[in-house]
């Protein structure tokens, strides 16, 4: 990830333990790739997985967004204050 902030309008997102300013209007998947995230999720046998198809078909890009698990990050755009968690889905909040 480059040290200079992006040009144009930006939003602040929280990805795991990082807070970052990313261009507004990009997909969550693109934002995570920009932040150097390799493993968006862990497969059933624990492999690191990242986006494959880029168009909502393969479901490999799933992350937890604002507390809801299994969201396809390639189909969702970043939003101000968004919380993104990668890796295995945590227990659903009561």
């Amino acid at each position: 990830m480059s040290g200079t902030p992006p040009a144009g309008p930006t939003v602040t997102i929280h990805a795991d333990d990082r807070t970052a300013r990313v261009p507004a209007g990009i997909s969550v998947a693109a934002a995570l790739l920009e932040l150097g995230v390799g493993a968006f999720r862990r497969s059933v046998s624990g492999e690191a997985r990242g986006p494959l198809c880029g168009m909502g078909t393969c479901h490999e890009c799933r992350v937890t967004i604002d507390g809801t698990a299994h969201r396809r990050s390639c189909l969702i755009l970043v939003a101000e204050g968004m919380r993104i968690e990668t890796g295995a889905p945590s227990e659903i909040a009561s």
Binding site: I26, G38, S43, V44, P51, C53, G56, L75, L77
Partner: protein, 455 residues
């Protein structure tokens, strides 16, 4: 004394359903869907367009800023926005209920960000669900950094930057050209483009395009953009290696195999029509594509289909089919003859494309026994190779039971093992349980009563 508990009180469903009634509902906002929507709306019908992505445009016209699109795309975007059609994106169609008698077709959609379930009641439906890439399994294909060719295009257009990446593009078909050009322009170093088709076949195909010089000119322009990158025929990737992400690939040209270091691999072997929603509503499908007549009507009354879902054929064909379908869904008695002629010509090119770039037989044997073939459930080839059908594989090994509902492994194993796809049931995409519950209002309360004494 026994007392009976009447447990028939229904819970208040926390998420309401938002009902919409319209004349025509179009599913899929790529070129075909946009053309159908504009046409039907211009004919005076109420039209609703639903798209799963963050914006209309589908794959080929995916964009964040309009300025990045070509002139034809911008014309159609303008035409769509000038029409009175209602366009909704960011929602996935999870179910379609065919009409009963004179009743409407019902489309159920779930918004990615949550909220009410969208239920659209329409007199006619146009399915323009496009096509997806066919991924073929090979050792290491699940490593982060191995992405689709169309996938790379989509990711770049949605804001990803692959600047300074060392890229190998290995697959088939003309799509590799614009993707290589885009990546090069964005600062990536394309170290190899590997086309699995034979040089002679591609050359013959290119010669056949002399009738369409603008296409050849465009191809040449693309190639110029990454002229320093080798473009090899009869070549494919046999393996990807790396610890947590891809670091190198093994590249084969039949007898010769060599190692190429890279940190991004773009791979895909053709396009597969997204026939899941058409099959869900009952449309006849042949050779993996929706069967349509000259009006783009499917086998289900009131349901039309246009674009890649009726057979992969490119943008121009998708636009023509979309216009015909939109007009027909709006009530046109017969299709426009100029459009019909154009469609016939373009379909000829599409057929030639498919023959030229059909995946070669060697690609069937890339996966080893321990190669994962179902990425959602981590099922390896050995678990399914000796089984007879996709259903058997699903129930014995869970292959195809995961989130992608068999879209990736099903298309792969159709090529590798010759299996026909399994049955399609709702939800057509994973959906929240509340969506399945809210979609159909109950008319009768179900009672579960429990006597309190005796057994």
């Amino acid at each position: 004394m026994t007392s009976t508990v009447d447990a028939s009180v229904r819970i208040a469903t926390p998420l309401a359903a938002a009902h919409l009634t319209t004349d025509v509902v179009v599913i899929g906002g790529g070129p075909a869907g946009m053309a159908a929507t504009a046409r039907a709306a211009e004919a005076g019908r109420r039209v609703v367009l639903l798209d799963e992505g963050p914006n209309v445009g589908g794959q080929i016209w995916r964009h964040r800023a309009r300025a990045t699109l070509g002139a034809e795309a911008r014309r159609w975007l303008d035409r769509l926005s000038r029409s009175p059609a209602e366009v909704y994106h960011g929602l996935a169609v999870v179910d379609i209920v065919p009409s009963v008698g004179d009743g409407p077709i019902t489309v159920v959609a779930e918004r990615h960000r949550g909220g009410p379930v969208d239920i659209v009641h329409a007199g006619a439906l146009v399915l323009a669900t496009g096509a997806r890439e066919r991924f073929l399994p090979f050792p290491g294909w699940t490593l982060p950094g191995v992405i689709g060719i169309g996938g790379a295009q989509a990711m770049v257009k949605q804001g990803a930057s692959f600047a300074r990446r060392r890229v190998v593009i290995a697959g088939t078909g003309p799509l590799m050209l614009p993707v290589a050009a885009t990546l090069s322009a964005a600062g990536a170093r394309v170290v190899l483009v590997a086309e699995q088709a034979r040089a002679s076949a591609v050359r013959d195909f290119a010669l056949s395009l002399l009738w369409h010089p603008e296409t050849l000119a465009q191809a040449a322009l693309y190639r110029l953009a990454f002229l320093r990158s080798p473009y090899e025929f009869d070549t494919w990737v046999t393996e990807a290696t790396g610890r947590d992400r891809v670091e190198a690939v093994m590249v084969s040209a039949g007898r010769r195999t060599r190692r190429v270091s890279c940190d991004l691999v773009c791979t895909g072997y053709g396009l597969v029509p997204n026939v899941e929603l058409p099959r869900l509503v009952g449309c006849a499908v042949a050779e993996g594509a929706v069967v349509v007549n000259e009006q783009q009507a499917t086998s289900v009354p009131g349901v039309f289909a246009a674009g890649e879902v009726t057979g992969v054929g490119g943008v121009s064909l998708a636009l023509v089919e979309g216009e015909i379908a939109g007009a027909a869904a709006a009530g046109a008695v017969r299709p426009d003859s100029a459009l019909v002629r154009r469609r016939a010509a373009l379909r000829g090119v599409a057929a030639s494309l498919e023959r030229t770039f059909a995946p070669r037989a060697e690609l069937r044997s890339l996966a080893r026994d321990d190669t994962i073939i179902c990425r959602c459930e981590d099922v390896r080839l050995a678990s399914v190779a000796r089984l007879a059908s996709s259903r058997q594989a699903k129930l014995y090994s869970r292959a195809g039971m995961g989130a992608c509902q068999g879209r990736v492994c099903g298309s792969a194993l159709e090529f590798v093992l010759g299996w026909a796809p399994g049955t399609v049931r709702p939800p057509a995409e994973p959906a929240r349980l509340s969506t399945l519950a809210a979609a159909v209002p109950s008319t009768v309360d179900i009672a579960a009563s429990t006597p309190t004494s005796g057994h």
